[in-house]
Amino acid sequence: MNDKTKRYVNGSALFIGGMLIFLVLSIIGCAPTVPQEQKTGAMLWGENCNRCHNIRTPSEFNDGQWEVAMTHMRTRGNLTANESKKILEFLKIAN
């Protein structure tokens, strides 16, 4: 095995191994979650938006603007139609 291969194997093994350990610990440490249909808009807002970026406050946009933004997030963040609808309803009430 040459230097390059060794470095690649070591680097990859370190990262993938580390990620897997973290993954297993995370799964063990997590409580069971609520089924999707039972989640409220506020719960879904916190869970989904925060996965990629800081949560934007509801008052940043008006109802019409949130409707466009949520459609954008449905395409970009792969939200389901139900998640998108519930989050939008929450934002319209909260803004």
């Binding site: 993938i16 979650t33 996965r51 990629c52 603007q65 466009v68 954008h72």
Partner: protein
């Protein structure tokens, strides 16, 4: 002069469009069927490389969104950046979506690559936790192993399975083009290693991040007018066992040679593995954010020079961030600590075979949920003929709107 005129006219168009969009969105009500939103982000960087000249740079990326009725949606992003003594203007993406069902969206146009999770979801500067991007994900970060965008059509969507969620995307696009040497000048009796050294010695000075993305054997992903009738096919599946964690795998297969050339049958195949985990931790009094994306790219070996070598490339990054949001101190709760390791390994016998390893340490101060000042220190190891180390300090001020 022509370029300056083009930029001026485009800027004028954007300004006019943006003004109209701002007016329209300020007037948007629930009852309107057409709704606009002007969004986007801007940034200014300051960089100082070891033994290099310090410099400011800046960019602005307006995003224009238009929702027409319940099923049609258009999204686009422009990119204005100050580079190479001028203003570079680009169309990052422009895509029209049609909502087929609750679980199926159909999109056409130039869209962010679903297999490149970093670029699809994390590339805006107010979202990316470090001032620059990892190796392999874009031409801005050296040699790309993945397309930033695809030009074609896609189906994508998501559906819940009890408390879990599955995400999918399948696409067909022009796909990448294999960069080849115009004329293969070679010396008889030369060994592959001698040839590699000769080409490297004769290669022009690298630019930017130390790489020449058009080197033979690499892929050009800006394939706006396809070079063959074969289209690239790709797919990604993401699984969320619980809301905080997403694991994704993706693949893409494409013919990369030009139609009717001796390289027409050469194929590229790439596999991608990605991971995202974000969780508020009571014990750690803050938020943990873990990201990773690993790419394996294989291109068929040609029988003829200069591509008669095993063309396999690898890149990836792992990133860990922590922000103590649950601490009462208002200064500390807005601080975020970030660590990233990324690497790029190119084929040993390729003309461009630089191997890169980089570690980055960052501290961010969040002024608002959509604005931050970032400070990062990078240590990069470059292995070509011999090993070199470069250090870089970057600071960035960014705002998303």
């Amino acid at each position: 002069m022509k370029d300056q005129l083009k930029i001026f006219l485009l800027s004028l168009f954007i300004t006019a469009f943006a003004s109209n969009a701002i007016y329209a969105q300020s007037q948007s009500t629930d009852k309107q069927s057409n709704k606009f939103l002007l969004s986007g982000y801007g940034f200014t960087n300051f960089e100082k490389a070891q033994d290099g000249i310090s410099s400011f740079s800046s960019g602005f990326s307006p995003i224009i969104l238009w929702k027409s009725g319940e099923r049609l949606f258009f999204e686009s992003e422009f990119e204005f950046e100050l580079e190479d003594g001028g203003t570079q203007v680009g169309l990052e993406y422009a895509q029209l979506f049609y909502t087929v069902t609750d679980n199926v969206l159909f999109g056409v146009g130039k869209f962010l690559n679903p297999n490149n999770l970093f670029m699809e979801r994390l590339h805006p500067t107010w979202i990316n936790k470090l001032p620059n991007i990892p190796f392999g994900v874009s031409g801005h970060g050296g040699v790309p192993l993945l397309a930033t965008t695809q030009l074609g059509a896609q189906l994508k969507g998501a559906f819940p399975v009890q408390s879990t969620k599955i995400i999918y995307a399948v696409y067909v696009s022009n796909g990448p083009v294999l960069n080849v040497e115009e004329e293969a000048d070679h010396t008889e009796g030369e060994t592959p290693l001698e040839k590699k050294n000769r080409i490297q010695d004769a290669a022009p000075e690298d630019e930017g991040d130390g790489h020449d993305a058009a080197a033979p054997g690499t892929l050009n992903f800006n394939n706006f007018q396809d070079n063959n009738n074969n289209k690239a096919f790709g797919a990604r599946i993401g699984f969320l066992p619980f809301p905080q964690l997403e694991i994704g795998i993706g693949l893409e297969i494409a013919n990369v040679g030009t139609e009717d050339s001796h390289l027409a049958d050469l194929q590229s195949s790439m596999q991608v593995f990605d991971l995202s985990y974000t969780r508020d931790s009571g014990i750690l009094k803050g938020q943990l954010d873990v990201r990773g994306q690993f790419v394996w790219l294989n291109i068929d070996q040609s029988d003829e020079e200069p591509l008669n070598y095993k063309n396999e490339s690898r890149s990836g990054y792992g990133q860990l961030a922590y922000r103590p949001v649950k601490i009462e101190n208002s200064l500390l709760k807005n601080l975020e600590f970030v660590f990233r390791y990324d690497y790029l390994d190119l084929p040993e016998l390729a003309e461009l075979n630089t191997d890169l390893n980089r570690t980055t340490y960052g501290v961010n101060y969040w002024l608002a949920p959509n604005s931050a000042v970032k400070f990062a220190f990078q240590n990069k190891t470059i292995k070509e003929h011999e090993e070199e180390t470069e250090t870089l300090f970057i600071t960035q001020f960014t705002l998303g709107f």
